[in-house]
Amino acid sequence: MKVGVLLKQVPASDTIIKINPDKTGVLTADVKWEINPYDEFALEAAIQLKDAGKATGVVVITVGGADAEARVRDALARGATEAIRVDDPALAGSDALGKARALAAAAKSAGVELIFAGKQAIDTDSAAVPGMVAELLGWPQVSVVTGFSVDGGKITAERNAGGGFIEVVSTSVPAVITCDKGLNTPRFANLKGIMAAKKIAIAAKSVADLGLSAGQVGAAGALVEESGLELPPPRPSGKIIQGATPEAKVKELVRLLRDEAKVI
């Protein structure tokens, strides 16, 4: 069984984000890119299956420009065995569904039977792509997973169901699993891995290579229209509470929460 990993590059979490002058996107010239943190859990889960002899290969799949190659290389160096980068001018302006179409088609072309994805991308935070990929492939999905086992095609996964409940879900391959923090501890690449990764070609695919038409992706196929970015309104400046003793400060805080902010 080959396993796929959906991997997106995102700006490092401490990046200072600047909006471009026409307010349609962010300036990326100074951005340091990283693998989306949740995708690192997905990648690690897939590599562990390979190490355990339960997966024959790990295919990293990304929709992204040439600048995403370095992140894909990093994934190969950690232990992935193949990579597909879908890149096409027709993809510009894709919504989540457009990206999902490209990723689902790439996964199909690679012949993977189990897909790991992050539970969300930390830049645009949609938490949407993996469920769409699962639907397009007609596979079950198990989202926000913190533990799992695969045995002869049968999957048992633990997921955070909210409200303090952990659900244990069973399903079978083929399936899509989205990964949460706590699933595992991602490894770093070592020198041997970095050298080995250099020999692996990253397959660049166009939309047509995947059997999709330009109208199914990009701005042409998008059902969601982004209409601009702005900075959040500044918070009114806060008050530092003065008081001679801790008790006096606390009393004043509670008074303000009750009478001024009216939240208790």
């Binding site: 990046t15 984000i17 303090g164 970015l229 606390v250 009393k251 939240v263």
Partner: protein, 321 residues
């Protein structure tokens, strides 16, 4: 022709959850007829009507025990086909997050997720959502006949419209156990949290400075309990093992949106702010007057958390009782 707003309502023991009331209240201000849908649960038509719904559609049956993606997607798609709404709203809750994207792909509808504001601009619903860790607000519209939106809990106030009881209409979505490709084999209550952080109205979070599990359990949890709040934590506190990672607030933890957020001994790193900056009122307690968290706080106390928290706990107990 699609028209009106359908609100996917989650229930708890036959009562609409607060998130459902928030969405119904907002829907009533957007124009058009408001209807509600409850899947795998019972509903009180009077309560739904009071919050603006004219009709509540319910879908039930053997396949609707524990939440499953397959049953819920099929059921909601069936109700949408019957009602033809222009807009479908749901909470960005664990269920809403799992359900809506797949539903969008099933019925060919655009989905805007994690929304914090909705408005009617010239007859079209426009959504606003924080992106890039809340450093930027994006605006989005949907071009398909039906638009799907998931909204973060606590984004809207609950405002009863005072409408009469909604009529309750049972819909047979033709879902059977054979549709389910996943089975929930066990549900465990995790040790602590009672209210999900993402839905909590009040949160008290502790940072690295609580120093130990005992520190977290003896300072943060009782303070949260006194305020009827849900306990949260910074990643530093979680990584050090003081709190479980289900408690982590931030870019790689939960994104929360409470009315009141109290940050105890948390410095205010950008990744922590990413998870809580939309809170209505932020209070921080930190002994360092230069801590960045103060720049994002409505109220701050510069002092030692180990003296402030017990005093604050007593004060909350006295006032909230």
């Amino acid at each position: 022709m699609s028209s009106g707003i359908l609100v996917f309502c989650e229930t708890d023991g036959g009562k609409l959850k607060k998130t459902a009331l928030e969405l119904l209240s907002k829907a009533a201000t957007l124009g058009g007829e408001v209807s509600a849908v409850v899947i795998g649960g019972s509903v009180d038509g009077a309560e739904a009507g009071r919050h603006g719904a004219a009709t509540v559609y319910t879908v039930n049956g053997d396949a609707f025990g524990a939440y499953s993606t397959d049953a819920w997607v099929k059921a909601l798609a069936a109700v949408i086909a019957k009602v033809s709404p222009a807009v479908v709203l749901g909470a960005a809750s664990p269920i809403g997050k799992d359900l809506f994207p797949r539903l969008g792909a099933r019925i060919g509808a655009g989905a805007v997720t994690e929304v914090t504001d909705l408005s009617n601009v010239g007859g079209q619903v426009v959504a606003r959502r924080p992106v890039y860790a809340g450093k930027v607000i994006a605006t989005a519209k949907v071009k398909s006949a039906v638009g799907l939106f998931t909204v973060r809990p606590n984004s809207f106030a609950v405002n009863p419209t005072g409408g009469g009881a909604a009529s309750v209409v049972a819909v047979d979505a033709g879902v059977s156990a054979a549709d389910l490709k996943t089975q929930v084999v066990e549900v465990r209550k995790s040790a602590q949290a009672t209210v999900d952080l993402t839905e909590a109205d009040r949160i008290v979070s502790g940072g690295r400075s609580v120093k130990s599990v005992e520190g977290y359990d003896s300072v943060i949890r009782p303070l949260a309990a006194a305020l009827r709040a849900t306990p949260g934590a910074s990643r530093a506190a979680v990584d050090a093992g003081y709190a479980p990672h289900s408690h982590q607030v931030g870019q790689t933890g939960k994104v929360v949106n409470p009315t009141l957020y109290i940050a105890v001994g948390i410095s205010g790193a950008i990744q922590h702010l990413a998870g809580m900056r939309t809170s209505k009122v932020i209070v921080s307690i930190n002994k360092d007057p230069e801590a960045p968290i103060f720049q994002h706080s409505s109220y701050g106390i510069v002092d030692d958390l180990f003296t402030i928290c017990p005093a604050l706990q007593r004060e909350f107990e006295a006032v909230i009782g």
